[in-house]
């Protein structure tokens, strides 16, 4: 049987590491990064964790700790994080042609085809190279299956003795049993909360229990998905690397507002802005959509204010990726659910029933001719290209509004060190 080897590379506190890479003053200082609108903590380093801060906490409740310990606070600087992520992934790509970018700060490398004497040593080389080239510390978890690399990664998070690199295939069966016994079943990759509750009811509480459970019983109750996870835990690779990710089946663009919205006009601008962004993503993957959902809600944290939330879904007469056309339906949906007298905190647009562009049937009743189709897609291509070259919102639709004072609030944004000439780091 062919031997499989996978490595999971996971950036430790990635957003904080990006901020640190260009700010010497942050070294050895507890640092946190906030979500959109500076609401909650989304990333924090080990020093901040030691102070009792946690991911997901609303930051306004932690002001006392932040002030007392001089915690460094940042808004999320996605321009910087995306650029640094691309650098990390490019460094990794040199180690194997088989790379799956799993998220902004995680990637799988398949090493099955390579002859590597000492996998742990290879892992240390990867770790050192990424750190040298980008300044981002990573963990490298090596195992015979993707699911087991996830287990190994959990081990690295909890045990400092491995110094960020571990090779599960070098473990004795006993060591492996111990490692798996320490992972709760809900922390196993691919086991959702529903399955986890079910498994716990039957006494399957850890990764080890899941591995050793009866195969037929797992297949019966957790379907083929559970069977695959179990096989992976037993060391048989059956979740292949996704080198080319399939196009997204739905696109959501939704953000909370920096300033709550109380007027219909402002809400129309916000919904059009999100629609325009979603349409841009849709065209990026050469697709069209046939269904659009608009949703909005008030601020759930303001318990004494009147609460309202609603959504509306429309099926489009023919699939499209033409922004003005999508505006028409988005506004129709919005008008169906917008109620006066509320203070809105969040709205969003979801595009679903997405299909790739080439298989679109021309509209049978000729509402949009092929020539019109062509003109629309040419126009959108020009808008997208200009925005890509000259920066976002170089060209935008008037329906999106100009002042947009409901926009995301990011008051503690660091410079975009790697993507804007006038924001590069000064050195004395």
């Amino acid at each position: 049987m062919r031997r499989h080897v996978y490595a999971l590379i996971d950036c430790a506190s990635f957003y904080v590491s990006c901020e640190r890479a260009f700010s010497a003053a942050l070294h050895n200082k507890p640092t946190i990064v906030l979500s959109n609108n500076d609401g909650c903590i989304v990333a924090l380093d080990s020093l901040a964790k030691k102070l009792g801060l946690k991911r997901g906490q609303p930051v306004f409740k932690q002001q006392e700790i932040i002030r007392q310990h001089g915690v460094q606070v940042f808004s999320s600087n996605y321009s910087l994080y995306q650029d640094m992520s691309a650098r990390v992934m490019n460094v990794l790509a040199a180690f194997s042609p088989r790379l799956e970018v799993y998220s902004i700060d995680e990637a799988f490398l398949e090493l099955s085809e390579q002859t590597i004497e000492d996998l742990a040593e290879f892992g240390r080389t990867i770790k050192a190279r990424v750190l040298q080239y980008t300044g981002i510390p990573v963990r490298v978890a090596i195992a015979p299956t993707k699911c087991l690399t996830k287990i190994a990664c959990e081990l690295l998070k909890n045990e400092t003795k491995y110094e960020g690199v571990v090779d599960l295939s070098a473990f004795t069966p006993q060591q492996l049993d111990e490692a798996l016994a320490r992972i709760a079943v809900e922390d196993v990759w691919g086991i959702g909360p529903k399955y986890a509750r079910f498994l716990r009811n039957y006494g399957v509480a850890t990764a080890r229990d899941l591995r050793d459970a009866d195969e037929c019983w797992i297949r019966k109750h957790l379907t083929v998905v559970g069977a695959r996870i179990q096989a992976e835990l037993r060391g048989t690779a059956c979740i292949p690397l996704e080198v080319n990710r399939p196009p997204r089946q739905s696109i959501i663009c939704s953000k909370s507002f920096g300033k709550e919205i109380t007027s219909r006009a402002a809400m129309e601008e916000a919904v059009c802005t999100y629609t325009a962004r979603a349409a841009e993503k849709l065209r990026e993957q050469d697709s069209v959509t046939a269904r659009l959902t608009v949703f909005l809600r008030t601020n759930v944290f303001h318990e004494d204010a009147p609460q309202y939330s609603n959504s509306f879904t429309l099926d489009l007469p023919y699939p499209t990726a033409f922004t003005p056309e999508l505006f028409k339906y988005a506004l129709k949906g919005l008008h169906a659910i917008y109620e006066e007298g509320y203070s809105y905190k969040k709205a969003g647009v979801e595009l679903s029933r997405i299909t790739p562009l080439p298989v679109v049937q021309p509209d049978l009743f000729g509402e949009v001719s092929l020539i019109e189709h062509y003109c629309q897609s040419r126009l959108m291509a020009i808008v997208d290209t200009l925005n890509r070259i000259f920066g976002r919102d170089t060209l935008f639709f008037a329906a999106q509004g100009i002042a947009r004072d409901w926009r995301m609030r990011q008051t503690m944004l660091s410079p975009r060190f790697t993507t804007h000439w006038d924001e590069i780091a000064p050195i004395t």
Binding site: A24, A25, H27, R87, V91, T418, I427
Partner: protein, 133 residues
């Protein structure tokens, strides 16, 4: 047509009428400065000189330096280093077993960094972009 009308002409592509260019088969990419100064695109960073400690090496305030983290710093390289809570650009001086960061301006003193607990090299400076007018 007046001569200065030509300044408004825009060339969008080759014209198919007339003689084909004898140079067509030798068409090459124009020189691109980025290709010259950036050897490793994902380990290269741009930074801006902010002080006058390196004027002797022709690094003046406002100049943009190209810093490559993939290179290993050797004796006499100009490096960007982190010293405690700030970044600094200096010439690395390796007088075994001692290590110094040397400014190139008589108004500043070299700093010894041998066994410095909070010192690390960020990258090696490979080029400097200076605006001259």
């Amino acid at each position: 047509m007046m001569d200065n009308d030509l300044t408004n002409a825009i060339f969008l592509g080759t014209v198919s009428a007339g003689f084909p260019s004898p140079g067509d088969d030798w068409r090459e990419q124009s020189l691109n400065l980025h290709d010259l100064v950036v050897k490793h695109s994902f380990s290269t960073y741009f930074m801006k000189i902010a002080g006058d400690s390196m004027t002797g090496a022709c690094l003046h305030a406002g100049d943009i330096i190209v810093v490559d983290r993939a290179l290993t710093a050797t004796h006499k390289n100009i490096v960007v280093a982190r010293l405690g809570d700030r970044f600094t650009v200096k010439r690395l001086w390796m007088m075994h077993p001692k290590l110094y960061l040397r400014p190139e301006n008589p108004r500043y003193q070299p700093v010894e960094v041998t066994n410095h607990p909070d010192f690390e090299i960020f990258g090696v400076v490979t080029y400097c972009v200076q605006r001259v007018r």
